[in-house]
């Protein structure tokens, strides 16, 4: 099962943006909702060693271009092996996008990096762990290698 990402398409110019926007950023026309497949290629990335209020360093951020051209910001477990152009899976957990295929330990650790009330963090971590377990059990979680074998066509 592939994750999907909520986005919006301009009925006039066809531009797709994510997360969905009410009005096309290129001109004042109401957009229509679309769903995009949750994989794409890395446009750029960074690791913050100085994080803003509400986050703990090191904070890994990537900009990922999804099929259709929409780009989203994602968090990740690390950027050491990341390269521009690398294909990654994008998963959304409670409104937050994560790039790459993440193990359960990675997910738990990631959620602890986002500040929040402790019960929320525990709940989020549990939900994520459960979700990761099920997707791995049902579908064989997409590993980076499998992703490389399934290159997507970029629609420009």
């Amino acid at each position: 099962m592939m994750e999907t990402v909520a986005a919006s398409r301009c009925p006039d110019c066809g531009w797709v943006v994510a997360p969905p926007a009410r009005i096309c950023p290129r001109h004042p026309v109401e957009m229509t909702p679309v769903e995009l497949s949750g994989y794409g290629s890395v446009l750029s990335y960074t690791t913050l060693t100085v994080a803003p209020e509400g986050f703990k360093p090191p904070l890994h951020i990537a900009v990922v271009e999804l099929p259709g051209g929409a780009r989203i910001f994602c968090h990740g477990r690390e950027t050491r092996h990341l390269r521009i152009g690398r294909r990654v899976a994008v998963e959304q957990v409670d409104g937050i996008f994560y790039f790459a295929s993440l193990g359960i330990a990675d997910r738990v650790s990631l959620f602890w990096k986002r500040r929040g009330a402790a019960p929320d963090r525990t709940r989020d971590a549990l939900k994520s762990a459960v979700k990761g377990f099920f997707s791995a059990y049902k579908n064989g979680a997409a590993t980076p290698n499998q992703e490389e074998k399934n290159p997507i066509e970029k629609q420009k």
Binding site: S44, T46, L48, E53, F97
Partner: protein, 374 residues
């Protein structure tokens, strides 16, 4: 359209200042008033975030009253980190349109009394909400741009470091600079990582400071030859290019179009190097160098004070410092001093200067051209 002239230019030293914001702005404003030897008939005030940083609102009236100019119509202008350039434009427009004859433009920011994570969070509010919700700060977005530019081979990490070295060398000659100590290439490249691949010495400091200009309809010899504004999506992810700024390109075109001359006449430039690699991108986006030619100029030392085209003789944001809304005006003050032979210790030979200012992550940029008319 009436011509607009600079009658006075003043600024405080940038850095960690003990004075409050009102006094920093008053120091710059009173010096400009004294130099101009006339009273303004309009006041343009700029401060990026006085509500958050110093807890003051209704800021144009606040500063108007503090300066003893409450009888003068006042307004506040804000375009994020390029607010100073926007304020200059507003003053320019008030005179060019014939609405006013003498406009005092004053900008300031006071930040060093607030903790760095808090300042970082306040400045981050200029970023798109989706991007900000991932912890994207200005250094984070700048790092994302820089990583993409490095991957395209537009410049190397050594080129980035050379910008910091040059601008710190210039700042060491500027008594108004926040940092007045040179740094070596090795020190820059070994400095602490902030947002990979950006290191501490690639990033501008958090500075306090103020700057003021008196603009008039009466010729003074120092002319605001052109002002251009360019804009772009707030969201970096909407941009067709991560490695050039449309807002700078459009601002430069508009400014040169208004001035009626091209980039070849520019002899000194103040560039918004909040992050060192941005100076390289701006040199090409403004048209001062053709695409792909700026790095050679950096390697050859052409951008030094003694070089062919001195860039950031003040030290730039990297070394002179970045007091948000004061910065765009401080750039014009530097050009005014350079073009009238008052840049003691760092004087260049020039009659035309260019100032480039970035608002937010290049969402609201400005290019201003100043010309010494014989």
């Amino acid at each position: 359209m009436k011509s607009v002239w600079i009658a006075a230019a003043a600024m405080t030293r940038f850095g960690r200042r003990s004075e409050n914001l009102e006094d920093l702005m008053a120091d710059a404003a009173l010096e400009a008033l004294a130099e101009a030897d006339c009273q303004p008939d309009a006041l343009v005030v700029t401060c990026m975030a006085p509500e958050e940083l110093v807890g003051e609102g209704n800021f144009a009236s606040h500063i108007g009253t503090y300066l003893g100019l409450s009888h003068v119509p006042a307004l506040r202008v804000e375009t994020a980190t390029s607010s100073g350039a926007a304020a200059l434009y507003t003053g320019f427009a008030l005179i060019a349109s014939g609405l006013h004859n003498r406009v005092l433009v004053v900008g300031g920011e006071k930040m060093t009394h607030v903790s760095t994570p808090r300042v970082s969070e306040i400045i981050s509010r200029v970023i798109d909400p989706h991007e900000r919700s991932y912890g994207a700060t200005m250094p984070a977005l700048a790092a994302i741009v820089t990583r993409a530019a490095l991957a395209k081979g537009l410049f190397t990490e050594a080129d980035m470091a050379r910008i910091s070295v040059k601008n710190h060398a210039n700042g060491a000659r500027n008594p108004y600079a926040h940092f007045q100590q040179p740094v070596t290439l090795e020190e820059v490249m070994a400095s602490r990582m902030i947002a990979d691949p950006l290191r501490l010495q690639h990033c501008c400091p958090i500075s306090d400071g103020a700057a003021a200009l008196m603009l008039t309809a009466d010729p003074t010899g120092l002319k605001v030859a052109g002002v251009g504004q360019g804009s772009d999506f707030l969201a970096v992810r909407y941009r067709s290019s991560l490695t050039s700024f449309r807002a700078t390109q459009d601002a430069a075109k508009a400014a040169f179009n208004m001035a009626g001359f091209g980039a070849e006449r520019v002899q000194v430039a103040e560039i918004h190097d909040a992050f060192a690699p941005f100076e390289i991108l701006a040199l090409e986006d403004t048209g001062l160098f053709p695409p792909g030619k700026a790095t050679r100029a950096i390697q050859n030392g052409e951008l030094a004070i003694e070089g062919r085209l001195p860039v950031n003789p003040s030290g730039g944001l990297n070394s002179r410092g970045h007091a948000l809304a004061a910065t765009g005006l401080a750039q014009i003050v530097e050009l005014a001093w350079q073009l009238t032979g008052r840049a003691v210790g760092r004087q260049v030979k020039a009659t035309v200067g260019l100032a480039h200012s970035i608002g937010g992550m290049a969402t609201n940029n400005w290019v201003t051209l100043v010309e010494q008319v014989a």
